[in-house]
Amino acid sequence: MKTAIVLVLACVGLGFSLSGAVGILRMPDLYCRIQCSSKTITMGALPALIALVVGEGVLSSYSSRALLTAFVLLLLNPAASHALARAAYKTGVPMWNGAVRDEAAEARERRDRERRADQDENQNQDQEED
């Protein structure tokens, strides 16, 4: 029974890890690859670690380390992915040709337009006062 649970969890983990690895190899641009990589961690590494916990028993030295690692991965992986994607976007890593929209660029343009309109308005007011 225990072996069956370990095998199922390990197969789930290995399947997701494999699909994530194929995604990292085959995806067209960096942003898709980051998404694949973070899926590899949350659905690939955590079931494998839980398989280790189930297989060795909750009170063993393996399970405490495995749970600690699972917690650290769950905490740090989204933060690292976010920081990396943000840095890549700021340094101008190109998007895939088929990418549909870039909401950050749209928001920046909207902000610039509003700022320019404000400046024009202020200048007009100054001229009227003169």
Binding site: L14, A21, I24, A48, R65, L73, L84, T91
Partner: protein
């Protein structure tokens, strides 16, 4: 049970080897960082299962080190990229 752990360690190493291809190919620095991060996580998992396979719990500390410091590395690299120091 021990054979299962050995097979799992080998499988994680094989998956990591797939990602090493992206580490070698990756057109930008950020691509390589993503690949390196994934390889490190796979390496940590395989060390975990190897420790269970050989019944030596001293290897577990190596696995924890691998898993946590690869993220530290990714965050530091991202910071360098953002400040345009790399």
């Amino acid at each position: 049970m021990h054979t299962v752990y050995g097979a799992l360690a080998l499988a994680e190493i094989a998956i990591g080897a797939l990602v090493v291809l992206r580490l070698a190919l990756g057109p930008t620095v950020a691509d390589r960082i993503v690949a390196l991060n994934t390889v490190c996580t796979q390496a940590a998992l395989s060390v975990f299962f190897y420790a269970a396979y050989t019944d030596r719990s001293i290897y577990l500390d190596v696995a924890i080190w691998f898993a946590s410091f690869s993220y530290l590395g990714a965050i530091v690299f991202a910071r360098y990229l953002e400040r345009e120091l790399l």
